[in-house]
């Protein structure tokens, strides 16, 4: 699987042609839509909310936020993507009319120029998602339409310029893996991926209100990258959990669910079907009993001490079956 992150920095990769390709491909639109719906399900927003969309691209995810009646602010590093987002917003009144007329196929009709539909050769980060189930069945017609999103040109790795407690929630769909490659044109000092991620998560933590939640969907390259992203979030103070959809298959999707104010994140998936909770804390605790220094006074501890002393060249009594055995009662 080729990864577009390897080719060019995001602002150069998503040039006019690539952005248009991305936005008009019905397959990508469908995958993005289903992931956004999943993220919204995890956020569980009961009221019209003020939502931040990190890496909004051409506003595919924002469109769904609007449909659900939320107000959103989107940010992206690619000017071409934002340009398309603007064009889409300007033509939106007509689009919503069309969505209302026949909404079952909504994601195919939204854009007039779908000639790239059947282009299967795109090397995109979504390449492994061919058999995605259609989750667009939800009723989009009845909901009140939220306003257009506000767009900003911004590098997530430079941090978010918001005052504390601004947003109810944040989503990010297929964006964070871009932050892991440091060859960005806006990163001339070559800051490490860790420091850019830390900057992002720290400022995101501040920008969310207390009790706010963030769902971040991303495509980690490998285990190391997945851990790097989740640990950066935990270090910023978030209560974090990683939801794996279609785990073990090539369609696997990772959703990092974050909550401000820490606490138990497992409540998010309570009541959802087909979700197993694997509590990392319990696992770590169980493992902690085996690893690390042995308990003081135990046989293992005495043996390790003797070993250490021997290594220092000291005279140590030989080991026997009586070593570290407690003496029995005297009488």
């Amino acid at each position: 699987m080729s990864r577009p992150e390897d080719l060019l920095p995001p602002d150069l990769f998503y040039n006019d042609t690539e952005s248009a390709k991305y936005t008009t491909s019905s397959r990508i639109r469908q995958i993005q839509a289903s992931m956004t719906h999943r993220a919204l399900e995890l956020l569980d927003l009961r009221q019209p909310a003020f939502v931040l969309d990190c890496g909004c691209g051409s506003g595919l995810s924002g469109e769904i936020l609007s449909q659900q009646g939320h107000t959103w602010v989107g940010m992206d590093i690619s000017p071409s993507m934002l340009d398309i987002a603007l064009q889409r917003q300007q033509t939106r009144p007509e689009q919503t009319m069309r969505t209302r007329n026949g909404h079952t196929n909504g994601n195919h009709e939204l854009n007039g120029s779908d000639e790239l539909d059947d282009n299967e050769d795109e090397d995109d980060d979504d390449d492994n998602d061919d058999d995605e189930e259609d989750q667009m069945e939800e009723d989009l017609t009845s909901s009140t339409l939220g306003p257009d999103g506000d767009l900003m040109l911004l590098d997530l790795g430079q941090g978010l310029p918001f005052r504390p407690g601004s947003f109810d929630a944040a989503i990010s769909i297929s964006a964070l893996q871009w932050l892991c490659n440091i060859e960005s044109t806006h990163n001339p000092t070559q800051q490490t991926a860790e420091s850019r991620l830390r900057r992002f998560f720290d400022t995101l933590y501040v920008a969310l209100k207390r009790g706010g939640k963030a769902v971040i969907q991303f495509y980690p390259r490998n285990e190391t990258q997945r851990k790097m992203i989740s640990s950066a979030a935990v270090r910023a103070g978030f209560g974090a959990g990683l939801l794996e959809d279609d785990g073990g298959t090539k369609n696997v999707k990772y959703y990092l669910v974050l909550s401000v104010g820490g606490g138990d994140i497992t409540g998010v998936v309570r009541g959802m079907d087909n979700v197993d909770v694997e509590d990392g804390r319990a696992i770590r605790e169980a493992r902690g009993g085996l690893k690390g220094t042995p308990k003081k006074g135990s046989k293992a501890w005495v043996m390790s001490k003797k070993e250490k002393m021997k290594a220092k060249g000291k005279v140590v009594k030989g080991d026997s079956k009586y070593t570290a055995r407690s003496r029995g009662p005297k009488f």
Partner: protein
């Protein structure tokens, strides 16, 4: 940029984070546009308590839109000092729901009104963030990152 978003924006420069001058950002050469959006009274009501009213007033002054804005946050009317307030006063505050009219007015100011061309200037470092076609450019040059 909607005026709602601008109320939450501060300067992106790291050294400005600690300065009180960096918020709110000031408009320069702003060109306004009215773009009617779906009115959602529930959202406006939810966001009211989070708005910084003095910053909002500053913005309104700079854009010459003071007439569109009430002189204090309507959400403040809803809150009564927990100490010293009689039961009757508390009840009155509960009944005192913000009228649709006020919300509509706020919606026009916060969501419908947007700055499409111009600059946002930080009061502390003086850095100018350009706005083009309604999209704010918050990319920082290397020496400020």
């Amino acid at each position: 940029m909607k005026l709602l978003t601008v109320n939450f924006l501060t300067c992106a420069v790291k050294t400005c984070k600690t300065s009180s001058e960096s918020y709110p950002l000031h408009f320069r050469d702003a060109q306004l546009e009215q773009n009617p959006q779906t009115f959602n009274p529930l959202f406006i009501r939810n966001i009211l308590s989070r708005l910084d009213w003095s910053a909002l007033t500053t913005t309104a002054n700079e854009l010459g839109l003071t007439a569109m804005l009430p002189d204090h946050n309507p959400a403040d009317d809803m809150m009564v000092d927990s100490e010293g307030a009689t039961e009757e006063e508390k009840n009155r505050a509960k009944d005192n729901v913000i009228s649709e009219e006020v919300l509509k007015k706020l919606h026009t100011f916060l969501v419908d009104t947007a700055v499409i061309e111009g600059k946002l200037v930080c009061g502390n470092c003086g850095f100018e963030y350009p706005i083009k076609e309604g999209v704010g450019n918050f990319l920082l040059p290397p020496h400020l990152v």
